[in-house]
Amino acid sequence: MPTWLWIVVVLVALLLLGCIWIYNRLVKLRARVNNGWSQIDVQLRRRYDLIPNLVTTVQGYATHERELFEHVTEARSRAIDANAVPDQAQAENQITRGIRQLFAVAENYPDLKANQNFLALQEELTGTESKIAFARQFYNDQVMLLNTLIGSFPSNVVAKTFRFEPREFFDIEEPVRAPSEVEFPR
């Protein structure tokens, strides 16, 4: 075989290896984005489960806050029904705000604040809120890596050939870091 043919063969082999590497990286990132999304989903579901519990507990003490209860319950069912990422994010923000208000209301009822069931719920909800935030952080980081790879050259050629689509970021409000130490707007 002449020398130039050897060079061509080596170059093609290198190109192929590069493509395989990019393809594998894309597949890996897509899997991580999907995994990140299901992590968010798990935590959001956990929060849906906790809300009726919280509402019932607070209702037992704070009977005058019916509007707030209805608001939170409605936001919950809207979030469960949401299909698109932006819709869901909006409903989740409403839930987050509602829960904060519920905890703020609880501040006015010493009996409620001493209730063991309420304290356990508060820890669970605070834990879930931060897990949602951490899951979102992981998801958005992976989406950014995937979208960058899909958008930049030469990986965009491989991405287009195998139909890798850029994904949407999940934007929701940051939860409060330490709920008991923050002033809540009423």
Partner: protein
């Protein structure tokens, strides 16, 4: 991060090879004394391989047992479990197992061989003194060690050094008691074995500072800074860990009973067995942590 993981894998292999060579040499010397060098060599290398395999697969359980750590359920420690689970999600690794150590000094460590086989242990003192944000900072730091495979090197070092310390103490003590008995009896005839035991003990005693040096090389101070930074990247809140470290520094007078030279490097902050005092001379030898003030300063600059 990936370079870090690769470097830690290399270090672990190097450590195990070094342990096999070192123990092999000692075994050969001992065997030579008894008239069969190769037999001693084979015996010692076999022992070293068993030790290495043991430290790789069961090192985490040994370390946890030596600190009297107890696994806790989410029902016992909801706050701790919630924080560990949340930060594991952020780091994209499975949730490690969670242990609590019955000690009043605030401290923590992580152990295991990879993120799939990892454990995080915190002291009772840490749980009682830290608020949620500070606890998140500490757990973030420990999870960074898990992600970087620092726990693999740390655990292998802990079990190998622990074994060497155990063997050297065994020889020194048996020489001491043997020596006393020998003097009392006035019989100097059986000096052969005593001389060997004495020689081995002495060699290991001389080796101790060298081993200390190896430990310091294997678990460099730089990685503590790195874990601080990576932990802060997970929590996105550097002041949390800074505040936790300040509290830990303020509580340095509380002694840690279950700490020893073999596991010192694993802890979040260098533990001390001596009441009120900073560090004993032997503990300084195994000093593996950068000063806490420096770590706080770097976190505050982030």
């Amino acid at each position: 991060m990936y370079e870090q993981i690769a470097a830690n894998r290399r270090k672990t292999i190097l450590l195990i090879v070094a342990a096999i060579v070192l123990l092999g040499a000692v075994g050969y010397a001992l065997g030579y004394w008894y008239g069969s060098g190769p037999a001693g060599l084979v015996g010692a290398v076999a022992l070293a391989i068993v030790l290495s395999l043991g430290s790789f697969f069961a090192g985490d359980r040994l370390v946890l047992a030596s600190t009297r750590a107890k696994e806790v359920s989410p029902q016992d420690q909801p706050r701790l479990h919630n924080i560990v689970e949340g930060l594991s999600i952020a780091a994209g690794i499975p949730k490690p197992r969670v242990y609590v150590i019955p000690e009043q000094a605030p401290n923590a460590f992580a152990t295991g061989r990879n993120p799939e086989h990892a454990s995080i242990a915190v002291t009772e003192g840490l749980l009682s003194t830290m608020n949620r944000v500070e606890l998140e900072g500490v757990i973030g730091h420990e999870l960074a060690h898990v992600v970087d495979r620092d726990i693999l090197v740390g655990t292998v070092v802990a079990t190998l050094v622990g074994a060497v310390i155990l063997i050297s103490e065994f020889f020194m003590r048996s020489w001491w008691w043997g020596g006393v008995r020998g003097r009392r009896g006035g019989d100097r005839g059986g000096g052969g074995i005593e001389a060997i035991i004495f020689a081995v003990g002495l060699v290991l005693l001389i080796l101790a500072p060298i081993i200390g040096q190896i430990v310091r090389l294997a678990v460099s101070r730089q990685r503590e800074f790195l874990a601080d930074a990576q932990g802060a990247l997970l929590t996105r809140y550097p002041p949390g860990l800074a505040s936790a470290l300040r509290k830990i520094g303020a509580a340095s007078g509380i002694p840690m009973h279950s700490a020893n030279n073999a596991t010192a490097h694993l802890w979040l902050n260098q533990p001390s067995r001596i009441q009120g005092e900073g560090m004993g001379p032997f503990e300084k030898l195994f000093s593996t942590h950068p000063p806490i003030e420096e770590r706080i300063r770097r976190l505050e600059e982030m």
